[in-house]
């Protein structure tokens, strides 16, 4: 299994290097990761700080040398907020993506391999996951469990694995019929061994693909939830910034410097996920059921 993960990683690496799109995506993520790590050094202010110059609070200042993107209506530096916002985005994105990958892949593997009752039950559960509208569910869960960033991640993790599960399951159904799997079965390998040593390596690339897409979906959802006011009030994410801007009438004041940049960053982060998870068909194909 370790060998398989290593191989899958090497395969992914080669693919990244060769594909222009994937490379762009990877570079964007790299840049974001670096920004997240060195945020305290590049952000001129603390994102929560209501900046005072002399005795005056810097409310709603337009972009200037001191405040590259101006300030919010509470005098906070927008640029610093933008920089620090990379952190929650990455945390949410990668954590959710990790769960999606693991849960979705496991469900798909067991469902596809065992078939029969296991399959029926797991697919029924997946159906339910598909039947629950995503954003409303996250809202309700977060609304009732409390606005913490981990509740958002939890809510997403509970549902996002569904696409991956279906797709992995289809793949497993095909791989299962291949002769090397049959050979393994005949040679007496245990089910678990077959699943993890023979089948899994063949579907891992697909898992990674959906994982990278999931990063994008997760970031978008967190932004939506924060925008609606259910976000974590202690975490200044890009979604929080947009909510802040909207609520303080930044739109009517034409404060583009406030509400345009966070959206652009969100877009970049999600696009990077799309680029890495290449096949645009996978991104949007409604996975029509095949039984």
């Amino acid at each position: 299994m370790k060998e398989a993960i290593k191989n899958a990683l090497i395969q992914s690496y080669k693919f990244l290097i060769n594909d222009k799109f994937a490379l762009t995506g990877a570079v964007i993520y790299l840049v974001f990761i670096i920004i997240a790590l060195v945020a305290p050094y590049i952000a001129p202010y603390d994102p929560h700080e209501m900046v005072k110059v002399g005795s005056e609070y810097m409310f709603n200042k337009p972009p200037s040398q001191d405040f590259l993107l101006g300030t919010t209506n509470m005098g906070r530096d927008i640029f610093s907020q933008l920089i620090y916002g990379v952190r929650p985005a990455l945390v949410v994105g990668f954590t959710a993506a990790f769960f999606v990958m693991v849960a979705g892949t496991l469900v798909g593997l067991f469902s596809g391999y065992y078939g029969g009752t296991t399959d029926s039950i797991l697919m029924r559960i997946t159906d339910v996951a598909f039947g629950i509208p995503f954003t409303p569910f996250v809202i309700i869960l977060v609304g009732f469990l409390g606005p913490s960033i981990w509740n958002i991640v939890l809510a997403m993790a509970l549902l996002l694995w569904r696409d991956t599960a279906r797709v992995i399951r289809s793949q497993v159904l095909t791989v299962r019929e291949r002769s090397f799997v049959e050979a393994a079965r005949v040679s007496g390998a245990s089910d678990l061994r077959i699943i993890f040593v023979y089948i899994a390596p063949n579907i891992l690339p697909l898992s990674f693909l959906y994982g990278s897409l999931a990063v994008g979906w997760a970031i978008l959802t967190e932004a939506s939830v924060s925008f609606l006011g259910f976000g974590d009030p202690d975490v200044i994410s890009w979604g929080y910034m947009l909510n802040d801007a909207y609520v303080s009438q930044a739109l009517s004041r034409g404060a583009y410097h406030w509400f345009v940049p966070p959206g652009i960053f969100i877009m970049l982060a999600v696009m990077a996920g799309f680029y890495i998870g290449r096949g645009s068909e996978e991104i949007l194909h409604p996975q029509l059921k095949e039984y």
Binding site: I132, F134, P136, L288
Partner: protein, 329 residues
């Protein structure tokens, strides 16, 4: 015929099962909330009498499993409780705003699918040219950009900056329409509908566009398209009658699923534009801890989604050529 009906029944059964499970999950979410379970159904601001009535209706003094049975029974009867905030039955509140959501969704879907399909055909035809890559990247942008952000920008530019469109709501502040009918006939309504519908359709068009393009590419490599060329038919004819005609069947099925997703997406757009629909209702309900309303709104949204998935399956099975053969011979 027989085969098809069996399939439909099977899928209908699965749909009911799914809804039942979702309702059950919802039941437990609301019951397991931190705090007094009664809070889920009875707002302390209700009078003693009202509280008593509600206790009985929802069996809140009964053991949990009994409450569950009552819950399901009520659900089947369409009894969703009383909204704390609106002091009206949840069903009434929901159905007052439901049409607005439907108008928004339908108009956005129609624009999105029409543009998406045409765009998909165009991009497929321009395969290998720069336009194609540019088109695909542009489409990915529409999917990567947060819907509400797009809405915000459109609002800022077209409403606040240029004053062409109103900044929200479904009608002028203070004004209201005499009836649904009047609303649909009023130009003002469409002025209010335009920006939110545009925002939603920008987001939605990605799917039909890329799906149509992908199908077109598959179809275009089929022999019958090459043969049509061999027969000396015009490019336009080949594009539509041979390629597009074969490529767009799955897109129609996707539309049914798309309706489901659109319902979920409504939530943010309705909030940005203060559009009085089901999505905004849900958000308000959760914000004000109006549990019965939140529950009711959620069940309705989920119900529409599950139903549309079911419809999509049925359409797909109808278009399946194997079934076609049987009904023709």
């Amino acid at each position: 015929m027989n085969v098809r009906w069996k399939y439909i029944l099977k899928r209908a059964g699965q749909m009911i099962l799914t809804m039942w499970i979702i309702s059950t999950i919802l039941f437990f979410i609301f019951r397991l909330m931190p705090g007094n379970p009664l809070v889920a159904y009875i707002d302390p601001t209700f009078t003693e009498e009202q509280q008593q009535i509600l206790m009985q209706q929802f069996g809140l003094d009964q053991p949990l499993w009994m409450q569950y049975v009552i819950f399901i029974k009520n659900l089947l009867r369409g009894e969703l409780g009383q909204s704390f905030f609106y002091k009206d039955s949840v069903v009434n509140v929901i159905f007052k705003v439901l049409p607005n959501t439907i108008y928004l969704m339908l108009s956005a879907l129609i624009i999105a699918y029409f543009t998406g399909i045409v765009g998909g055909i165009f991009l497929a035809w321009k395969r290998g040219e720069k336009v194609e890559t540019a088109g695909i990247i542009a489409t990915l942008f529409t999917r990567a950009a947060p819907q509400f952000w797009v809405g915000m920008i459109l609002l800022a530019v077209f409403s606040f900056e240029f004053g062409i469109f109103p900044s929200g709501g479904v009608s002028q502040a203070g004004a209201s329409y005499a009836s649904e009918f009047h609303k649909l006939l009023s130009l003002d309504f469409y002025r209010h509908l335009f920006l939110p519908a545009l925002t939603l359709s920008i987001y939605l068009l990605g799917l039909p566009l890329l799906l149509m393009r992908s199908n077109m590419l598959d179809v275009m490599s089929e022999s019958y398209v090459e043969m049509a060329e061999m027969r000396g038919l015009s490019k336009l004819r080949i594009m539509f009658k041979y390629a597009a005609r074969n490529a767009f069947l799955p897109v129609i099925t996707a539309m049914a699923v798309g309706i489901g997703y659109a319902m979920g997406g409504n939530v943010v757009i309705e909030t940005v534009f203060s559009w009085p629909g089901l999505g905004r209702l849900l958000v308000n309900a959760v914000s004000t801890s109006d549990y019965p309303l939140a529950q009711g709104a959620f069940i309705l949204i989920a119900g529409v989604m599950v139903f549309m998935n079911f419809v999509a399956d049925i359409i797909y099975s109808l278009l399946d050529p194997r079934v076609n053969i049987e009904s023709r011979r």
